[in-house]
């Protein structure tokens, strides 16, 4: 069993709270991505699992063992670092076998060691490079050596700290697939830290969104995308991000609607605890705003980004910056043009302006 459980775990550095009362259960064999902007505490959380940072308060368990006071080298984990952290003076072989040599408790006989190094090197296609030094390898190959060094330990939990951020775009996509493949093959628990939502969406079985040291939401990539728990998650996930329109709820005869500076917005999901006169924040994805002369929101186009398969209209709606995603095949639009937008009522997300929590 190799779940990882944070039970109200906090980490304080010299008075600065890096992780604030984190409650999070990472299940056995799960691919959990900790996602958040830089400085949000996700790396600190990962380093606490590794044992590279102490836990200030709360309980951290791996499997059924509380690990608060267990040294890093005695935890059944392996970690892959952003900079690969290979030993530059050792050959690839020495690097990969290092965890089996350095730690008394993990030492195995030479034949077993050779077998495991071979196995890890084969999985990652490093067989021909075993006698080279890291300096003679490309970035992608170095990252693979780091992965092999993790595999050779056969840990219960793999920890990865932004392992793709030093690779170029093409290699990143390829390595992403390889890591997912590796997870499937090994059946271990993976905890993966990134600020890149594309990595989170494509790799995770579950995502934990973290901001300001606090857990914002956990769920499958689909859940956090379709039903963000608060305004932070709504605007953090998705590219371009959701449009945010502020206004006041009022009765339009048929029900409630949001009166904003640029017009009105209606929604089809039932919303409790919203009365007439309540201030509200509506968030809506760029693809759910449609250019339509019968629309209810004013919009002035300020810039157009052509991406080939689609285009983004950047502009203003009242006091808000708004982005509209369109197909490139849609009718051409000129910069400076004033349009009307029709929001898709089924895709409007509503949040409380004070708590920023979802209200429906």
């Amino acid at each position: 069993m190799s779940s990882v459980v944070f039970d109200h775990v906090s980490k304080v550095f010299d008075g600065t709270v890096a992780v604030d009362g984190l409650d999070l259960t990472i299940h056995d064999q799960e691919f959990m991505v900790l996602l958040g902007p830089s400085g949000c505490g996700k790396t600190t959380a990962l380093r606490m699992i590794a044992g590279l940072e102490t836990v200030t308060s709360g309980t951290l368990s791996i499997g059924d063992r509380v690990v608060n006071d267990i040294p890093a080298s005695d935890r059944d984990i392996a970690m892959v670092f952003q900079s690969y952290a290979l030993y530059p003076h050792m050959t690839v072989r020495k690097n990969i076998e290092s965890p089996l040599v350095a730690h008394r408790g993990r030492r195995v006989d030479a034949a077993e060691r050779e077998r495991r190094v071979r196995e890890a090197a084969d999985i990652l296609g490093l067989g021909d490079y075993l006698e080279r030094k890291p300096g003679a390898l490309s970035g992608g190959q170095r990252q693979r050596v780091a992965l092999a060094r993790a595999i050779v330990r056969r840990p219960e939990v793999f920890l990865m700290d932004e392992p793709l951020s030093n690779l170029d775009a093409k290699l990143r996509t390829q390595t992403r697939t390889e890591i997912v493949e590796l997870h499937r093959r090994l059946g271990s628990t993976f905890v993966y830290v990134t600020h890149d939502q594309v990595e989170a969406m494509t790799m995770a079985t579950r995502v934990a969104v973290i901001a300001n040291g606090r857990l914002q939401q956990t769920g499958t990539p689909d859940e956090v995308y379709r039903r963000p728990a608060n305004l932070f998650v709504a605007t953090f996930i998705g590219s371009p991000p959701m449009n945010v329109i502020r206004g006041v709820a009022r009765d339009n005869g048929a029900g409630l609607e949001l009166a904003a500076a640029a017009g009105t917005l209606t929604w089809s999901t039932p919303v409790s605890a919203v009365g007439i006169g309540s201030e509200l924040v509506a968030a809506i994805r760029p693809e759910h705003l449609h250019v339509d002369p019968a629309g209810t929101l004013d919009f002035t186009v300020r810039a157009i980004e052509q991406l080939g398969h689609e285009r983004h209209l950047l502009g203003r709606s009242g006091d808000a910056d708004v982005v509209v995603r369109q197909s490139s095949a849609d009718a051409p639009i000129a910069i400076g043009e004033s349009l009307r937008l029709r929001p898709d009522p089924a895709e409007v997300h509503l949040f409380d302006p004070a708590t920023e929590a979802r209200v429906d």
């Binding site: 590794a50 044992g51 590279l52 970690m79 900079s83 952290a85 030993y87 965890p99």
Partner: protein, 282 residues
């Protein structure tokens, strides 16, 4: 006519060459005159100075080098210098590596103060502590002994400083990785930190050997028997000879520097790389 950038640059290069040539001549001049005095027969040479010469050799006496090599005192002093220098270098290497490791990789109370004190010792020239140290050595009856000759130099603030810089260059993620792999302090030090810092350590060995070999003040006072004279001290007595053997001292001086010249030629690339690597990380 506007000046051509290429010719401007050539002029600048030429300026540098002239400056470097002049500086080289200033530095090489004493070595040149020492060499001239070594290979000239002493009496004719002194006469040539009186008649305004002295910059060119007179009545070549190459045999002087052979006479120095056959001199038992020269041999013994060279061996003693080699012995004390080796002990000093080995001890400084060990103490610097261990102290620098603690200063970089271990958190303890008073770390900054300890570092400041260690490096602060560099501000004290040997003359400041000379009398107190000589008395200590005498009280411990360590005059005329290897311990007495080497004890004050077994640790050196400069070595600690240089190796601290080297260890600071070890990426923190590498330390983390080593911790997860299970390297203890000593294994991390000798399997990772030291091998990675090899260029700087190499240049430190060279600098340390140079300093130890060229010691004069301490061995001059810490030994009063002729058989405990290091080469730098012995050179002084070699210079005090009859007038027809005055070139003996100069020849001995040249021969005594040969081991250093050999080391410098072998390691000069490493020396430069090590010193700059300490200053500019990466």
């Amino acid at each position: 006519m506007a000046s051509n950038p290429r010719s401007t640059r050539r002029a600048a290069d030429l300026g540098w060459y002239v400056l470097l040539t002049v500086l080289s001549l200033v530095i090489l001049f004493p070595i040149y005159t020492t060499f001239i005095r070594a290979i000239s027969s002493p009496v004719p040479y002194l006469n040539s100075i009186k008649s305004g010469g002295g910059l060119t050799p007179v009545e070549l006496d190459w045999g002087v080098f052979w006479r120095v090599i056959k001199e038992p005192g020269f041999y013994r002093a060279m061996l003693l210098s080699a012995g004390t220098s080796t002990i000093i270098v080995a001890a400084q290497l060990l103490t610097s590596v261990l102290a620098a490791y603690a200063l970089v990789f271990i958190d303890f109370r008073g770390k900054k103060l300890a570092f400041a004190l260690l490096v602060g010792t560099l501000l004290l020239p040997i003359e400041v502590t000379l009398i107190a140290n000589i008395e200590t050595v005498r009280d411990l009856s360590l005059f005329n002994s290897l311990v007495g000759l080497t004890a004050p130099f077994l640790a050196w603030g400069f070595g600690i400083f240089l190796l601290r810089q080297a260890f600071l260059g070890v990426p923190s993620e590498l330390r983390d990785a080593a911790e997860l792999d299970g390297y203890g302090h000593l294994r991390f030090l000798f399997r990772v930190a030291v091998p990675i810092s090899r260029p700087i350590i190499g240049s430190f060995v060279l600098i340390s050997f140079l300093a130890a070999w060229n010691q004069y003040v301490w061995p001059r006072f810490a030994a009063d028997e002729e058989s405990w004279q290091t080469i730098q001290v012995a050179l002084r007595t070699f210079g005090q000879r009859e007038v027809d053997q005055l070139n003996f001292g100069f020849a001995a001086a040249i021969l005594s520097a040969l081991p250093l010249v050999a080391l410098l030629i072998i390691f000069q690339r490493q020396l430069i790389r090590g010193l700059t690597a300490g200053a500019v990380k990466g």
